[in-house]
Point group: C2
Chain length 420, copies 2
C-alpha cells in the first residue's frame, strides 16, 4: 500500500525500468495458453467483443483461422461456426498475449515466448507474417493459409531451435536500446531492430541442427520482412507492462488496445478491468487505389507499444516514419514527442533518443495527466481495409479517445474514496 | 570545355548524383591492380610518402604486410627491406583504390570490387578486419596475420561466391539511402549499413556453394563487425568521385586523404595533382588507458567519405556518433552539418536525412568556398596509437588544413589565366 498515487506510480515506473524480457522460445500457442485447447477458441485483439460486433478484418481473420485449424472447410462453414456461437472468443490480453490488428490467434499458430528475467512473468505474441495478403489485416484465402502452414512447419521450429542454441535467449532490451538510435519507433518502423535481430539469430539458426534448406527459407524471410520485429516488440512491451501491473496501485496505463469498435485501457490501480470508448479511425497515407473511405476503424493490440512509451510517443526517434504515416517532417516528429511527454510521468533511461538530444523515450502514461491536459495518446498504426479479405491499405496515426481515460479516472477516484 | 567554373562544377555534381556503384566481387588485390605484381609493392593511404617519413601505424602495417606476403620472416627482416628501399610504395589513390588508416594493401589481400554501372569505372578497397588488434591501425603480430590469412582463405572467397549468385551485385546506393535514415554517417558509424548488408548477403552466401562451415564463419564475422561497411563505403565513394573527376574541370574536391604527415587533396580541374599541407591531429575520446598524447596525426584514405559528402558533413544524420567522437549532442551535430553545408555546392537527392528535415547530405566540396569562408572540412576518424604495433586507441574529429585548399585554389587560378 503506497501513501500516494505518485508513490504508486513511481513504483510502477521503477518496474518498467527494471524489467528485462528475453526472447527465449517459439511454441504453438496451445502449448503455452491452455484456454486455446478448449473446444474452438480464438484469441482476438482489444477488449472483449462478439462475432456480430467484429469489423471486417477481424471477421476475415476468424474465417482464416477456422480453416487453418481444420474446423471448417469453406468460408461459409467457418462463418456459420462463428455466427452460431460455436467459436469462443477471448481477448489476447486476458491470457498474457497480444496480437497485431485483428490479433486472431489459434492454438496451432507459433507464438513468441518472452520471459522477463527480473520479475519472472512471460508473455506471448504470434509471429509476423510479412507483407502483402496477411491474416492480421483480414485476408484469409489459400495464399494466406499456405504462409501460416509454412510458419507452423518451418518458421516457428527453426526460430525455436535457434533460440535454444543461445545461452539465455535474446536480450531484447539491449537490442532496442541500439535500434532506437537507428530510426525505429517500434510500431510502424522496425527495420533497424529487424536487421539487428536477423544479425543476432543467423548463426544460431545455422547451428540449430535444422535442415539447411529450412534455415535458408527462414533467413530469406527475415531478410525481407522489415516489420518482423513489431511482434517481438509487442510481446516485449506486454511482458514489461504485465510486470508493472503487479504493483496493483496508481494511475499508470498498463494496456491500450482496440478491437475495431472499442478502445480499451487498463490501469495499474484497477487490475484487469477494461475502460472503453468508441475507437477513432486512423488518418494517413494510402496504398495506390485506396482512400480514407476504405479505412477500418482503429484495431489491434499493437498500441501496447505506446503504452510502454514508444510508437507515436517516440516519433522523434523515427523521423523517417513521419512521412510513412503522413505526419510531416522532423519538426512535426519533435512536436509530437514533446506533446506526448506531457502525459507520461518519466523517461526511459535505457532508450536514449539521439535526435531528442539523448532524452529517453517517454515512460509511464498517466491517466491523470491525460484527463488534466486533454492530450490523448497518438498511435502510429497500420490501416486495414474495412471489408474482410483485402488486407492492409495504408498507414497513419490515430488518437486514443478521451472518454476511456475519464472513465478510468472516475473509477480510480471512487476506489480511493472507498479506501479512505 | 565549360564556360564557367560554376558550369563545370554543376557537371561534376551531376556525375556524383548519376553514379551507381554496385559491389560486384571480391578478388585478391593483385588480380585487379597490376602494379602490385611488380617486385615487392605495397599500397598506402594518402599522398606519396617514403618509408622514412611514415608514422608508426603505417610502418607497423608495412612490417605485417611484408610478413604476410612471405617477403620477410621477422620484423627486423621486414624493416630492413623497407629501409633499404626494396619495397616500392604507391598511394592507393593512384591505382583506383582506397584503404582506411595506414591503407597498406598487398597483392594477396582480398579487395572489394565496386563497379559504377552508369560510367563504367571500377574502384577497390581492402576488407574490414573487425576490431581489436588490426593492421590498419598499425598492429602486425601473429594474431593480426592469422586474421588476414582467414580473410584470404575464407572471407574473400565466400563473399565473392555470394556476390556471384546475385544478378548484378549489390546496389550500394539503395542500401545507403536506407541506412542514412538509420543513424549512419558512414565514417565512424556504419552499424545500420553493416546490418542491412549482412541481411542482403546471408542467403546469397548460403547459396554460394561454399562449405557451410566457412559460410557460418563469415556470417558470424559480419554479425559482430559494426564497421564492416566502412570499407564498402570507401570503395563506393572512390568509385563516385573517380567518375566525377573525369569532367576534368571545376573546383570540386575529388579526393581528400592523409598519410600521417601530409593531408592531400585533388580537385576536378587539376587531375591527379596533389595539393598537400601538414595534417592535424584528431581530438576525441580515448579507450581506457590511452590519452591524447598517444594519438597519431591524421591518417587514412577514409576521408573519401567526407569528399563524397557524408562522414563529418552528414553528422546530423548520425547524432549517435557525436558522443562516440566526443563532438557533443544533437544540436552540435546539427551545427556541424549546417557549417559544412557552407562549403559544399549542392545536396544529394538520394541521401535524405530525416533529422535534417529530409534535406540531402552535402554534395560537391568546393575549394572556392573553403578559401572564401575559411571553413575547413570536419572529418570523423578513428585514432591510431602513434607507435607501431598497438592499434586503435580512440575516435574523434579533425579538421583538414586550410593550406592545401589555398594551394589548389592558386593553381586553378593560374591554369585558368593560362587558358585565357
Amino acid at each position: 500500500m503506497y501513501a500516494t498515487i505518485q508513490e504508486a506510480n513511481n513504483a510502477v515506473a521503477a518496474r518498467i525500468k527494471e524489467a528485462r524480457p528475453y526472447w527465449v522460445d517459439v511454441k504453438p500457442a496451445g502449448d503455452v495458453i491452455d484456454e486455446l485447447n478448449v473446444g474452438m477458441t480464438l484469441l482476438h485483439a482489444g477488449p472483449p467483443i462478439t462475432w456480430a460486433r467484429m469489423t471486417g478484418p477481424m471477421q476475415g481473420a476468424v474465417l482464416g483461422a477456422a480453416k487453418l485449424e481444420g474446423w471448417a472447410k469453406t468460408d461459409d462453414e467457418a462463418a456459420a461456426l462463428a455466427e452460431n456461437g460455436q467459436i469462443r472468443f477471448i481477448p489476447c490480453h486476458d491470457v498474457r498475449a497480444v496480437g497485431p490488428m485483428g490479433g486472431i490467434t489459434s492454438k496451432s499458430m507459433p507464438v513468441i515466448i518472452m520471459r522477463n528475467k527480473v520479475h519472472g512473468n512471460e508473455s506471448f505474441c504470434n509471429l509476423n507474417e510479412g507483407i502483402g495478403k496477411v491474416m492480421r489485416f483480414g485476408a484469409y484465402d489459400e495464399e494466406v493459409l499456405a504462409r501460416h502452414r509454412w510458419m507452423m512447419s518451418t518458421l516457428g521450429p527453426v526460430l525455436s531451435a535457434a533460440l535454444k542454441t543461445t545461452e539465455e535467449g535474446i536480450d531484447i532490451t539491449s537490442l532496442i536500446a541500439q535500434a532506437i538510435t537507428m530510426g525505429d519507433e517500434f510500431h510502424q518502423r522496425n527495420i533497424a531492430a529487424s536487421a539487428l535481430l536477423m544479425r543476432t539469430i543467423t548463426v544460431p539458426a545455422m547451428n540449430s541442427g535444422m535442415p539447411a534448406e529450412q534455415c535458408k527459407e527462414v533467413l530469406d524471410f527475415l531478410a525481407c520482412t522489415d516489420q518482423f520485429f513489431l511482434n517481438v516488440m509487442m510481446a516485449y512491451c506486454k511482458c514489461v507492462m504485465d510486470a508493472a501491473a503487479e504493483i496493483e496501485e496508481g494511475s499508470i496505463v498498463t494496456a491500450m488496445t482496440r478491437n475495431g469498435r472499442d478502445f480499451g485501457i487498463r490501469i495499474s490501480g484497477l487490475g484487469k478491468r477494461w475502460f472503453t470508448a468508441d475507437v477513432n479511425t486512423p488518418v494517413g497515407l494510402f496504398f495506390t487505389g485506396y482512400t480514407q473511405d476504405d479505412a477500418n476503424p482503429d484495431i489491434g493490440d499493437s498500441a501496447i507499444t505506446e503504452t510502454f512509451g514508444v510508437g507515436g510517443a517516440a516519433m522523434v526517434a523515427a523521423p523517417g516514419v513521419t512521412r510513412f504515416v503522413g505526419a510531416g517532417g522532423f519538426q512535426d516528429a519533435l512536436r509530437i514527442s514533446n506533446e506526448m511527454q506531457e502525459i507520461y510521468v518519466d523517461n526511459n533511461p535505457l532508450l536514449l533518443i539521439p535526435s531528442w538530444d539523448f532524452r529517453g523515450a517517454p515512460l509511464g502514461l498517466d491517466i491523470r495527466k491525460v484527463v488534466e491536459t486533454g492530450i490523448t495518446p497518438l498511435i502510429n498504426t497500420g490501416i486495414a481495409h474495412k471489408l474482410p479479405g483485402i488486407g492492409q491499405v495504408g498507414a497513419g496515426t490515430v488518437r486514443a479517445p478521451l472518454d476511456c481515460f475519464v472513465a478510468a479516472f472516475e473509477a480510480l477516484a471512487q476506489k480511493l474514496e472507498l479506501n479512505d
